[in-house]
Symmetry: C2
């Protein structure tokens, strides 16, 4: 289970950079991801069966495995896809709060509410994410970067004039302490999602946890004195 002999020398289409996909290949990839999300929306992780994904996408099983070398790869890629949509959606309606911590909490709660609308899909994606082993590290890392971007976007204070184009937030680079806080927030976000998905925590509990951890942001805001034990205890 989980090897990889074929890949890695031929540089399969999974990497979005190496070989430029032809139009038909791009279409196949989209179809597969769409099917994956559709099946996941039904029954979660277990409902995404590779044979069914292949058949329903009009692709041979071997081809599916050429595009996504495992079920976990497929679901993590699906998550990348969904996260990008989410990022754009969230970017359109920036949080209304003032404090960075509150802004992040508000944004994450919006994302959480979006996930609640498709709990099975959320289940499939998050389970795949945390179940991924080393062979999926690059893809999981991409997801992590996307999540970080969402949080950093929310943290940045609202700008007065509408920016024209390009990636925002080159203005105030976050401090190392803030980056640590963001990492911890991501940890909490993922783990809280898991406890909610497995029915061990209520929605209210997730909200509390997110708001609790977001205090770290204000705590580490630049200009605030670090009164207690420094980074290396």
């Amino acid at each position: 289970m989980g090897h990889m002999t074929t890949e890695s020398k031929a540089a399969g289409p999974a990497l979005p950079a190496s070989p430029p996909l032809t139009e038909r290949q791009e279409a196949r990839r989209r179809r597969i991801l769409h099917t994956s999300a559709k099946l996941a929306s039904r029954g979660g992780f277990d409902a995404v069966q590779m044979r069914e994904v292949a058949e329903s996408s009009g692709v041979a099983l071997g081809t599916l495995y050429r595009y996504f070398p495992s079920k976990v790869h497929l679901l993590v890629a699906t998550m990348q896809d969904q996260l990008q949509h989410m990022h754009e959606t969230l970017r359109k309606r920036p949080p209304s709060e003032e404090d960075p911590g509150a802004r992040v909490a508000q944004t994450l709660m919006r994302a959480f509410r979006a996930l609640q609308r498709e709990p099975h899909l959320a289940d499939a994606m998050v389970r795949a994410l945390t179940f991924a082993d080393r062979s999926v590290s690059p893809e999981v890392d991409t997801v992590s970067r996307l999540t970080t971007a969402i949080i950093l976007d929310a943290m940045a204070p609202p700008v007065a004039h509408p920016p024209s184009k390009g990636p925002a937030r080159p203005a105030v680079p976050p401090t190392p302490e803030q980056l640590s806080a963001v990492r911890v927030i991501e940890h909490t976000w993922h783990s809280a999602l898991i406890t909610w998905l497995s029915g061990r925590a209520s929605i209210a509990q997730v909200k509390i946890d997110i708001e609790t951890v977001c205090r770290l942001i204000d705590l580490t805001a630049p200009g605030r004195t670090q009164d207690r034990h420094p980074p290396s205890a």
Copy 2:
């Protein structure tokens, strides 16, 4: 994958309360858990193969499934077992720091160093824990309670006189804010472990994350004014 028709009406031996296990049954259970930990120590999650666990424990496959209704159940039970050892070990050498946050960070770093000695075993247990679905909720909850107990133990200030017996820490009940902080610390603990196990974070990074989140404890210490956004934003 993942049903459960047999169990739940007959109250299998998995529950430590319902039917008092006979001596031979207790021995079988121990043998199974031991084998599970041994195999996990080798190759992690994938190396724990149910047939091999059964054979190496000297029980039939069906019996293994009667004791542990799935591989995830087995590994979560293994984690319970290991955590109990860990708890006792940690209890013997309480942290030396003064601040509650620093005490918790120190304790978790000790636990982390213990896990580093058996990274494959840690991998198997943590992956099982986060992959567990609703059917494993009770067992996962037990693990969560154990973890909470370890953190609360560490948080409690050192006592002057040696307590004689019984569960400690009835002295100062933690505040709701502290309990929230503990929840967030657990989230961070699990998620940071995962990123380390999958090779996406270094040991140093885990240390930083733990120390960062443990500041929440001091932040929510009783007697400290809550200056920013209250629980319901």
